[in-house]
Amino acid sequence: MSEVTVRKQRPKHLAINEIRLPLPGFVSILHRVSGAGLFLMLPFLLYLLDRSLGSPESFEVFSAVVSHPLAKLLLLGLLWAYMHHFCAGIRFLLLDMHKGVELQAARNSARIVLIVSLVLTVIIGVKLW
């Protein structure tokens, strides 16, 4: 048995404008991004819970903070992050159990995750504000 390693010169094709991240990959990286965002905002969320539960006076502070337009925008973003992480997480749990691992099924579920998390964000967002 010969031990010659044949190193074939493979063509390098990195056309950035042509390479596209498939939908499941997009859902996957958004899962990481949304998780990182939620982690970074944990102190803000804990602060809000702390103010909302402290006393009637601190509840007023909480109400004032969350009614600020910038805080609303941030919370809407975090709401989406939570919804996306929630839906994509359920998808990953199902994939772990070998449910929907076929290419077409995985693409469909990725699309469903993106749509459902956005719809939930809009519904809850409208209900809260």
Partner: protein, 115 residues
């Protein structure tokens, strides 16, 4: 031929299971939280703090926070391991993450058991 047993050391298996176990609990708590919040007659201090004064809800909420922090530890640690290669910087980031999350757990306990 690679003749290496693929089980035995259990590197990461515990974390993998913990990440999923906490995820399932958080998903269930999210539904419980949604139902309890929707059932509130109004969003006022008395109604909101009344919900969290309930012993069972307080207990479930604290478990939720512990799940969040443990889950976040595994997830954030994975992010550092994927993108941060210098050992010293990575170790420092791991420690900062760990200290923050342990501190948050204390904070969450204080928020809930003050009621």
């Amino acid at each position: 031929m690679v003749n290496r047993p693929i089980v035995g050391a259990h590197y990461g298996l515990k974390d993998w299971i913990a990440q999923r176990g906490t995820a399932v609990y958080m998903a269930l708590y999210t539904l419980i939280f949604a139902v309890c919040t929707l059932a509130l007659p109004e969003f006022s201090y008395s109604a909101w703090s009344g919900l969290f004064s309930n012993g069972l809800f307080k207990f479930l909420s604290f478990l939720f926070f512990l799940s969040v922090f443990y889950h976040a530890w595994i997830g954030v640690r994975d992010i550092w391991m994927d993108y941060v290669k210098p050992t010293g910087v990575r170790l420092a980031l791991h420690l900062v993450t760990l200290f923050l999350l342990v501190g948050y757990a204390g904070w969450a306990a204080q928020i809930l058991w003050r009621l």
